[in-house]
């Protein structure tokens, strides 16, 4: 196994710049997810790690070996493609055995390893079939079996679950994660699905426009987003963003908007002091806003806002309330048992320990 380092990777396709300087360190045996909307450069990054593309600038380093310009076959990697790329003219067995045959592994060992991988992915009874006789989920397992059979130093996965139906996707999510823990292979996984990223990744690199916006554990990404993009991209429904002005009053600093005034405790006040008189953006997730009286007992500091219910989405487990405060819509995620009707007046409480504060110009997080 090996650690992977990207140093200042830039990639241009003609005049379009796909990657604008990617730095990434993946530790040995770590599962890192590249997450971002389509066109953010995550797949290009993966293809550069694979050697399927060459960077315009920058270095790819495996361990202490510079592999930037090595062809894929000399990198000791494996890849699961979005389309699976299970070769249609070979049986399942031959698909899985192919990488080993290329490496001239003895026949008995090939057989043993193919059976081991098939066992692991529960496709032992499919080995004799052709890919067109398989379902999408089965083909996906073949692609994974083929990828792990060579015992690669680095396993790359490009949206491997995106072509599966929702139920199977949830199942494969945990299976892939367990598999990775078991064989302890350094894994880089590309997805646009934040739930996949949060549940599978040891760390997540959130990308946008060819740049990494933040790298961190799922908890860090969720609780301490580095900027408004990450804060908005992670979490569902999306975080509420509210423009606030920092105002200085006799008893200290406050954040003021049309709907509320939040008196800041000294620790936070210290952070925003330099922005006094300026506009900042306050962010709060819908799950940290509670209908009045429903705040959990450990939430001590709250501020109250009132409004009229504009729209309700009853999802069963949760009830999503769109609250019209008169100047904006605030989205609230309440428990599924909570019931309200459109047009009703409603008071909600914002959990003050959970607010985020961003600069309006750079969108970077202050808190």
């Amino acid at each position: 196994m090996v650690d992977v380092h990207l140093r200042g990777i830039v990639k241009k396709f003609g005049h379009t710049i796909a990657l604008r300087g990617i730095d990434l360190d993946v530790e040995d045996g770590e599962f890192v997810v590249l997450l971002g909307p389509s066109g953010c450069g995550k797949t290009t990054t993966l293809r550069i790690i694979a050697g399927l593309e060459k960077p315009t600038k920058g270095k790819v380093i495996f361990g202490n070996r510079d592999v930037t310009y090595l062809p894929p076959r000399e990198r000791n990697i494996s890849m699961v493609f979005q389309s699976y790329a299970v070769w249609p003219h070979m049986k399942v067995y031959d698909n899985i055995a192919f990488p080993l045959k290329i490496k001239k592994v003895p026949k008995e060992e090939i057989d043993r390893k193919v059976k081991w991988a098939a066992e692991l992915l529960q496709i032992s009874d499919l080995l004799d079939r052709y890919p067109h006789q398989l379902s999408g989920g089965q083909r996906q397992r073949v692609a994974v079996a083929r990828a792990i059979v060579v015992e690669p130093q680095v396993l790359l996965m490009d949206e491997p679950l995106s072509n599966l139906d929702a139920l199977l996707r949830v199942k494969m999510r945990s299976e892939l994660k367990k598999l990775q823990r078991r064989i302890k292979v350094t894994t880089i996984y590309v997805t646009h699905d934040q739930v996949e990223a949060m549940t599978m990744g040891d760390r997540i690199a959130v990308m946008k426009d060819g740049k990494i916006m933040q790298i961190g554990t799922p908890t860090e990404i969720y609780h301490k987003p580095a900027n408004m993009f990450v804060a908005g991209f992670i979490g569902s429904p999306q975080m509420n963003f509210i423009d606030v002005t920092v105002s200085e009053e006799a008893d200290g600093l406050s954040l003021v908007s049309e709907d509320f005034k939040i008196k800041l405790p000294p620790d936070i006040a210290e952070l925003v002091k330099q922005y006094t008189g300026k506009t900042l953006v306050m962010g709060i997730r819908p799950e940290h806003i509670y209908p009045e009286g429903f705040a959990p007992s450990n939430v001590k500091r709250t501020v109250k806002i009132s409004g009229v219910v504009d729209f309700v989405e009853a999802l069963g487990s949760d009830t999503i309330i769109h609250l019209n405060t008169g100047s904006r819509i605030i989205v609230v995620k309440a428990s599924g048992t909570y019931h309200t009707n459109i047009g009703e007046k409603l008071n909600v409480e914002l959990g003050l320990d959970k607010i985020h504060i961003f600069r309006k110009d750079t969108e970077e997080a202050i808190l």
Binding site: G8, G58, Y69
Partner: protein, 296 residues
């Protein structure tokens, strides 16, 4: 922060940027040698004598020699195209619409219709020579049915030979036009007609406002290809009428093989090329907007 990256890129990677050009190189070299060079050599043959001096001899032969059938050849080549192409395009269009319907035995019928595409024009000429001869199937059938009392003589009479050539060419090359239009028709999603049907369009309206506009690029492509090929008409004419109906390619062949005047043959060939290129250019200019929008 790092060294200038240009220095550290290995040579093999720099070369790999040129791989597509290397892959195309044999093609370009071949075309230069087998098309570019002959074109230049063709001009030399037509306009220069063996000592390398410019000469009008071949042009003069073409225009003024009593043995030259140049103006007739030009006339008949264009006339044949003008008569044959409209018939081909309309028949092929009708056939394509017909084959867009579902019916049992469709594939067999389709293969039959494209059969003439696989034979040479010489063979097509001979097939219709068999059909239209004095004792050919056509005459025997009509006489047996009592439609005519004497066989219709096609060969040896100029106008009838012209007719025979038209019949043969329509039979032979309609399939090319058909295949292009049919391919275009199959690319039009059935949902388009069905959507039109849902909104209450009649069959005629569906044709007029849905199928026809979407098919226009294919029709134009077919028209260009057919026209350009029409200037090369040779085998059918040569087998059915010889030089009774002179055409440009036939005269080139005659000049080369019988007169043994390669200069004249080369001149004819250049005229065919010039005609093709200019008509092709006119078509493309004329159709350009829609042709390009269709991404073809």
């Amino acid at each position: 922060m790092t060294r200038k990256s240009g220095e550290s890129i290995p040579l093999s990677i720099k070369i790999s940027n040129y791989v597509p050009y290397l892959l195309l190189l044999p093609t370009l070299a071949y075309m230069l040698f087998f098309i570019g060079y002959p074109l230049v050599e063709g001009v030399a043959l037509a306009f220069f004598d063996e000592q390398g001096h410019f000469t009008w001899a071949n042009v003069n032969y073409l225009l003024y020699d009593p043995g030259s059938l140049f103006w007739d050849a030009l006339k008949y080549t264009i006339l044949l195209a003008a008569v044959i192409i409209p018939i081909q395009v309309s028949v092929a269009f009708g056939l394509a619409l017909l084959f867009n319907a579902k019916f049992p035995g469709k594939n067999l019928a389709l293969y039959t219709v494209i059969l003439p595409l696989t034979i040479s024009d010489v063979a097509a000429g001979l097939i219709w020579y068999v059909m239209l001869g004095q004792y050919g199937f056509f005459n025997k059938l009509l006489m047996d049915l009592g439609v005519i009392s004497h066989p219709i003589i096609f060969f040896g009479i100029k106008n009838m030979e012209f007719l025979a050539i038209v019949m043969t060419e329509v039979w032979r090359a309609t399939a090319i036009v058909f295949v292009i239009i049919f391919a275009g028709l199959q690319m039009i999603s059935h949902e388009y007609y069905e959507a039109a049907e849902v909104f209450g369009a009649t069959t005629w309206q569906r044709f007029r406002y849905i199928i026809f506009p979407l098919l226009l690029p294919s029709l134009q492509a077919a028209l260009i290809i057919r026209t350009l090929f029409a200037f090369q008409i040779f085998g059918v004419v040569w087998t059915l009428a010889g030089r009774d109906i002179p055409v440009l390619a036939g005269e080139a062949y005659y000049a080369q093989t019988t007169l043994l005047r390669p200069g004249v043959a080369a001149l004819y060939a250049l005229i065919i090329a010039a005609l093709s290129v200019s008509v092709g250019a006119i078509y493309i200019k004329f159709f350009k907007a829609k042709y390009l929008e269709a991404g073809m």
